[in-house]
Symmetry: C2
Subunit: 197 residues, 2 copies
């Protein structure tokens, strides 16, 4: 058991305020407050509860960042994933990417049209893109991208970058040889019996 | 050899117009025009030339979509990737994701800070996110996301979706249990000797 901070409030809006206060608080002040309670008080959705448990376990086991996700099909979890970026030397190994790859392998399909994802954090642009490509039917998430940024993950920064024109992005983007590159698209258009996705 | 369409113009702006005209053209009209030329006339950057060659080969071999990419470190190609979505049943297996994973494995690192990517098409949001997570130093690309959309790939649609608030996206996004989910972030903050990325 742990102490309940007087700043903790149960409504969503109040909790947002508490969270912002806690994360932006001077560390010296934090020492004089009860620690935020890690006890899970309201794990009322079993799929999100499992995603959150995976995110916690991943921190404790030291395998990667604090992120977990599950994919649900027909009322059952068919795949689970955790962040494995550092342990696998793979910057794409976010929980959502990992779980999408596992679920597709399990269903022997490159789409997940009748499945829903439960992820412990709002997907970053990479993972949101993957969810669209996988055609998942619904996204359930816990933490916000802004929460992830507060603990050192670039989610919000990347969302901001994507919204900018090429010339204003941090990583320079240079177009070249478009005329030559279009040849593959023309070849694709003309190809008979191709598998579209 | 193939015929050169009178609509082909060599300046960038004119080529954009030609491309739009060709792809939006009625198929009956196309029959009366010379086919667009697949011959590569100006492959003046060897890294982009290789990415484009990979994209063409991938169509011809039937392994996946018309996309290829290479990663360059210290003036040499260290990894190559092609789209393998359908053959691997993996919606995340875009050329850029594939090549990033290979390059990281080769360098035994979860970042690619001193590397550049050459990709035959502007990265989709998933791949652009992956490039930011990998901290690549520069992005060179051939086709535009809009070109990809014209031949049936959702790149531009996903960019549009990301720019919208949750409530206006095609795939519903539902937040729940944020208070419980934050526990993993607090645990991460307190963890000693963690590997940040």
């Amino acid at each position: 058991m742990c102490g309940i901070s007087p700043l903790v409030a149960r409504s969503h809006r109040q909790f947002v305020d508490w969270s912002v206060d806690y994360f932006s608080m001077d560390s010296r002040l934090k020492q004089h407050l009860p620690q935020p309670c890690n006890e899970r008080k309201n794990m009322d959705n079993p799929f999100m509860a499992r995603a959150i448990q995976l995110s916690l376990d991943n921190v404790l086991s030291g395998q990667g960042g604090p992120f977990g996700a599950v994919i649900v099909n027909d009322g059952k979890i068919i795949a689970e994933g955790v962040n494995r970026v550092t342990i696998d030397n793979d910057p794409t190994a976010h929980a959502e990417i990992v779980v999408i790859r596992k679920a597709c392998a399990r269903l022997n399909s490159f789409t997940l049209k009748d499945c829903e994802i439960y992820t412990s954090c709002e997907p970053c642009p990479m993972c949101l893109g993957a969810i669209y490509w996988a055609h998942l039917s619904r996204i359930h998430f816990g933490n916000l991208a802004a929460d992830a940024s507060k603990v050192g993950f670039d989610d919000s920064f990347i969302y901001q970058q994507i919204a900018r024109p090429f010339s204003q992005r941090k990583i320079p983007m240079l177009q070249m040889m478009r005329e030559e590159a279009l040849a593959a698209f023309r070849s694709w258009q003309k190809k008979p019996n191709k598998i579209s996705y």
